[in-house]
Symmetry: C3
Subunit: 436 residues, 3 copies
C-alpha cells in the first residue's frame, strides 16, 4: 500500500518552474513568447513549464491566452522535454474568478482541442484554506469526468501566497486521504512571496521582499509530509545571478529544491544549482567570512589577508586571525586549520563515498571512516590537513539526496544528458546513475 509520503507523480524532484505569458497585446502574434518557450531544450528548458494565464498576462487577454496555450501545446507539446502545467486564474475571495478558472480548465482539457494529452496538470494561484483547495480539486474532477479523462489524472499545483494557504499546509496529509476529494492530484507547493507580502501587509524600507524563512520552512515541511514538491517563488532581480544562487542555497538547506525562473537564463542557473559541483573545493573560515581557496597544482591557496601565518622557529608557527594570534607547533597548526576548513564534495566525491560505504556494508560493517586530506598554503607555508568523518547508514542516506535528484533528472530529462556529460564527463555520469 502506498503511504502519503510516496511521490505519486512522474517527477520526484522539480528544480525549475518557468512561467511564460500566454498572450501579449500589441504583437503580431500574441502567442509569440509561448511559441518561443515551447522550443527550449536542454538546460534552458525547465522541469516544469508554466504557460501563465494569471499575473503574467493582462486580464483582458486571458481568454485569448487559453486559445494560445491550446494552439502552441497541440503543436509543440509532444516534443517538449519537461512537464507542462499552465497557470489558471483563481482567487479565494472571488467566486467569479474561480468560475472563470473552471471554464478555462474545461476548455484546455477538451480532447478535441488536442492539447490535453501533453498537459500534465494545472497551477492554481491565490488559494485560501484547505476548503478552497478542495473547490479547485472538485472543478478539475468535473472537468476530467466531462472529458472522459481518468479521475485524478490531471495534477494540481498551488501557489501559496496567503496566510490561510500557509496554514493549510499543515492539513494536507490528513485531508489528502479523504474519500470525498481527489487531493492526491497535488504536485507542487509553490511560494508566491510578492502576493504573500501584500497579504501579510509587510513593509520593508526599500520595498524589497522580506525573506520569509518560516513560510519556506512550512512549505517544505508540508511537501515532505504529503509526498509533494516544494518550490520557491520568483527572484525579481534578474541581473543578480549571485543573489539567485544564494537564495537557492538557502532554500536547499530547507529541503526546498525547486525555484521559479523568469527567464531561460534563470532556468539554466536553477537547473544546475542543486546538482553537485564538477570539482570539490575547500573553504576557509577567515575571521568570520567563508572564503573558497584557490587550487594550484593540487594545493589549496589562501590569498586574502584575514588570516596570516609565519614560521617563527623550527616547527613553530604564529597564526594571526583578525586581532587574535596563536603560537603553535606543526601538529597544533594542522589541527587549528582543520577546524577552520570545510570541504564541498564534487559529484565524483559523493559517488566514491557512497560506493565505498556500500562495499563496507556488504562486508558486514555498519560504519566506516571516510578520510579527506589536503595541502593548504597560507603566506607561502604549506600545511597538511586530514579529516576522518564517520559514515553510517544515516550519513549515507542523507548524502543520497543530491544523487537521487541527479538520477531523477537523468531519467526524466534525456535532453539534458549531453549537458550532464559535458559538465561531469561520461564516466562519472555512468556511475552516478547506478549508485545507491
Amino acid at each position: 500500500m502506498s503511504t502519503h509520503t510516496d511521490y505519486l507523480h512522474d517527477r520526484e524532484f522539480v528544480r525549475t518552474f518557468f512561467t511564460t505569458p500566454t498572450a501579449v497585446e500589441g504583437e503580431d502574434d500574441s502567442a509569440k513568447m509561448l511559441r518561443g518557450a515551447a522550443q527550449l531544450r536542454g538546460m534552458e528548458a525547465p522541469d516544469v513549464w508554466v504557460p501563465d494565464n494569471e499575473d503574467a498576462t493582462a486580464p483582458s487577454m486571458r481568454d485569448e491566452g487559453i486559445e494560445n496555450i491550446i494552439d502552441v501545446i497541440s503543436e509543440h507539446g509532444a516534443d517538449y522535454p519537461g512537464e507542462i502545467h499552465p497557470r489558471m486564474v483563481w482567487h479565494r475571495d472571488s467566486p467569479a474568478t474561480r468560475y472563470q478558472g473552471f471554464q478555462h480548465i474545461m476548455e484546455l482539457a477538451d480532447p478535441e482541442n488536442g492539447a490535453i494529452e501533453h498537459i500534465d496538470g494545472v497551477v492554481i494561484p491565490e488559494v485560501g484554506d484547505i476548503d478552497d483547495w478542495k473547490k479547485a480539486d472538485e472543478f478539475i474532477t468535473i472537468v476530467e469526468t466531462e472529458h472522459g479523462l481518468e479521475e485524478g489524472s490531471l495534477a494540481m499545483s498551488v501557489i501559496v501566497e496567503s496566510g490561510e494557504a500557509e496554514l493549510a499546509l499543515g492539513d494536507l496529509r490528513e485531508e489528502m486521504g479523504k474519500p470525498a476529494n481527489n487531493l492526491e492530484r497535488l504536485f507542487l507547493l509553490v511560494d508566491g512571496e510578492v502576493d504573500y507580502t501584500k497579504d501579510m501587509r509587510a513593509i520593508t524600507p526599500t520595498g524589497e521582499l522580506p525573506p520569509w524563512p518560516e513560510l519556506r520552512h512550512n512549505t517544505s515541511r508540508g511537501a515532505s509530509a504529503a509526498g509533494l514538491i516544494a518550490v520557491d517563488g520568483p527572484y525579481d532581480d534578474i541581473r543578480d545571478v549571485e543573489g539567485y544562487h544564494e537564495r537557492m542555497t538557502d532554500n536547499q538547506a530547507k529541503g526546498m529544491l525547486g525555484i521559479w525562473s523568469l527567464t531561460p537564463g534563470q532556468v539554466v542557473e536553477a537547473n544546475k544549482s542543486p546538482l553537485p559541483p564538477k570539482t570539490g573545493s575547500w573553504l576557509l573560515e577567515a575571521n568570520g567570512r567563508e572564503v573558497e581557496l584557490n587550487e594550484e597544482d593540487g594545493r589549496y591557496v589562501y590569498e586574502g589577508d584575514r588570516v596570516e601565518l609565519e614560521e617563527t622557529d623550527d616547527d613553530q608557527y604564529r597564526l594571526h586571525i583578525g586581532s587574535n594570534e596563536r603560537d603553535l607547533d606543526g601538529d597544533e597548526l594542522s589541527e587549528a586549520l582543520l577546524d577552520l576548513t570545510s570541504y564541498i564534495p564534487s559529484l565524483n566525491d559523493i559517488v566514491d563515498s557512497m560506493e565505498e560505504f556500500e562495499a563496507a556494508k556488504e562486508a558486514g560493517r555498519g560504519a566506516i571512516a571516510m578520510e579527506r586530506s589536503a595541502t593548504l598554503v597560507i603566506d607561502g607555508i604549506e600545511v597538511e590537513i586530514s579529516n576522518d568523518r564517520m559514515w553510517d547508514e544515516a550519513t549515507y542516506q542523507a548524502a543520497q539526496t543530491p544523487i537521487t535528484l541527479f538520477q531523477d533528472v537523468y531519467e526524466n530529462r534525456p535532453d539534458q544528458h549531453e549537458d550532464l556529460e559535458e559538465l561531469y564527463g561520461e564516466d562519472i555520469v555512468e556511475r552516478a546513475i547506478v549508485v545507491g
Copy 2:
C-alpha cells in the same frame, strides 16, 4: 458577504498599544497616571490605549483600578483620540482569576457607570488554547447581554504569552465562524514575550529576552488569516531608541505593524515608525554593512573607508571593497555601484510611483518601468547610476501597504493631521490620502 479576512473593526491598522497602570499605591490620587495618559494627544497618543489592570498594577490595587478606569474614562473618554481597551486579569490555569476578570468586565461595562460608551473593548492576557479564548468570549457575551449592549460590540484582544496560545493562532480562522461563539469580536493579537519566555522556560546568558522570530511570524500569520491585527510586546530598554526602531523594522518585515509602548516617548517613535520617511535615501552595501549616504547638493556621498575608488586612467577606475579590488571602465563602475546600492523611497516617491502606475493602467498598460537615478560620490569621484524597476499590479499592491496605513491613520486620527502636515508638507499629505 464578508470573508474572515475582512477587518470588522474601525481600525485596520494599529501602530501603538500603550499601557498605563490603573492604580498606583502611595500616591494622593491612585489614578494620577491614568488621568495623565487620558489627556495625551497627537503623536504622543497611541492608536490603542490600554489602562492596565493586570501586570502593571499591584494585585491588591486591582479592584480600585477598575474604579479608577471608570472614573477617568467617564470624564475623559469622549475626547480621547485613540481607541480604549483596558486590560483585565485572566489566566488559563486559574478559574479564580478568570472569575475576577469576569466581574471586572461586568463592572466596567455597566452603562450606569458612564465609561462603557467610550470603551472599545478589553484585553485578555495569559490565554491558553482556543477553548480558553472562548471562555473569555462567553463572559463578554454575558456582560453584553446583561447590560443591554449589542452582542459582539465589545472587542476582545489577547496577549499571546504561552505555547498553547501560539498554537491557538492556527485555529482562529476556523473557530471564528462557529455559531456557538462571538469570536468575531477579536481585534488585536499581542505578543507578550516576558511571560512567553517564562512559559517556554527559555534561558539567555544575560537574561535579555530571546528574539522569538517564529512566535512573531505565527502571530502575524494568524492575524492575516483571520482579519486581525498583530502587535509586538513591550521593549523594556526605554532609553534604547535605536534598538526600538530596529525591532520595529524587523517586525514590519513580518507584517507585524504595531508594537507595545511603555512611555509617551515610545508612543511617538512607534506612531511614526511604519510611516514612510519624509525624504528618500540611498544605501551603499559597504563590505557587508549597509551605510546610508549623505546627501550634499543632490549628490549622495560615501564617507567611510570600507569602499575606496580611484581613477587610474582615462575612464578607468579601481574599486576597492575590503581586500577585494576590481578595474572597471565607467560603465562597468556604474553597473557595479548600482548592484551595491538600494533606495529607500519617501512618501512622495511612493505616491508618485503609484500615480504613475495608475495612469499607465488607465492607458491600458499592465507593467511599466520606474526609473530611479542618482549621482554617487566616492573619494571625490562622481558616478551616475540609474535603475529601472518593473511595476506590475502585484508590485503596485505590495507598495500600497504603507499608503493604506497612512490613510487609516489620517481617517481615524484627526488629532495627528497637524503633525503629519508638519512632517510631510500639506501638499503630499493631500495626495497621499486620495491615491490608490
Copy 3:
C-alpha cells in the same frame, strides 16, 4: 486537578540524553560499551541514559541488544544515578519494524528478567503523525497489562525526525486528553536532525546539517504546551566543544534545555551548560562583535583594538568604534559604554537578586530597581558604569528558570552534589536550593 502543562514525571528538566550501542559485534563481550556506560557517575552520567537498540546498533545485533540491556540493567540499574530509557526500533512506514519494536518492549518489560524495575520508559524513533504515536502508546499499554505493570507507568519519549512528526507536535495537547489513549506517558520530545534532513530532502554544500531553527522552536513549543521536555539531537563533531556550547546556548534561548550527547565528554559539557556560571562577566559590543572583558583586580579590561579610547582634555574623551568616533565628556562616556555592555550574572548574582526581590515583595513592593555597576578599563582609562534594572513579578519569574533547573538537578542527582559544591561553593549551593 492537573492541567496538561503540569509535568507528570519525576524530572521537570533533562539536560542530557546519552546514547550507547546495545551490542557491538566482534568484541568478546558485545555488551562492553553498555556495561561501561552503566557505571558512569556524577557529571559524566546523563540525566537520561539511552541504551540505543536502533541506529547505534547494527540491525543484525538488535535481538542480542535486548538481552544485553536486560543483562546490564538488571545488574547495574539499581545504582544508576539518572533515568534509563532504552531506544527501541520503530518506523512509521514499516509494520514489520513496529512489530519488532513491540516484541522487544515486551521482552524488556518482563518482570522475570529483572530489568524493568530500573527502566523508566522507552524511546520510540521515526514516529510519523499522531496516529503513529498512538500505535506505539497502545503497544506499551498492552505490554504493561500483560506484565502487570500500572497503565501509563512506562514513559514514552519520541524522536522527531520527519515532517509528519513535526506537525504532530501541534496536536499533542489536544490528543493527550483523550480516553482511548495513554499519551500522558509522553516524556521527552527529541529532535533527530540527521534523519529529519534526509526526510526533508535538504542539501547543504558541505554536507553539514542545516540549523533547522523552526523545527527546534516547534519542538520546544510542543513540549511547553503539553508539559513535556524538549531535547535537541546529536552534535556530530565531537572535537568541537565550542560549537557544541554555541548550539546549546542557541537551544536554551528557544526553551530547549536538553541535548543529545554521544560521549561522556559531551555529557559533562551538556550537564553544565544550562547551569548559571560560577562568576559573572561583562561583555562589550565591540564594533559588531561581543567580547568578554578580562577581570583584573575587580576592574574589567578591554584588550582588543575594535574600540579605542583617548582622553583629549580634562573630562573630555574621544571614543573610536571602527571608523566611527565621538567626543564625549565623562558622563556621556559612561552612558555610551553602558549601552555597549551587558552582564552575564553568576548563580550567586541570580540568588541575590531573587532574595532581594522576595524581601521587597514581602514588604509590599511590587517592583524594585536592581543596580549593577562596574569599572571598565579601555586603553588604560577607567570608566565607571552603573545600571538600574527594574524587577517585577514577571522578571522574577523569568529569572527563576535556571534556578528551578538547578533545584531539579539537586533533588534528582545526589551523585552530582559534590561536583556542584566544588563548582560553586557549598554556601551558594545551600542558598540556591531554597530560594524561590
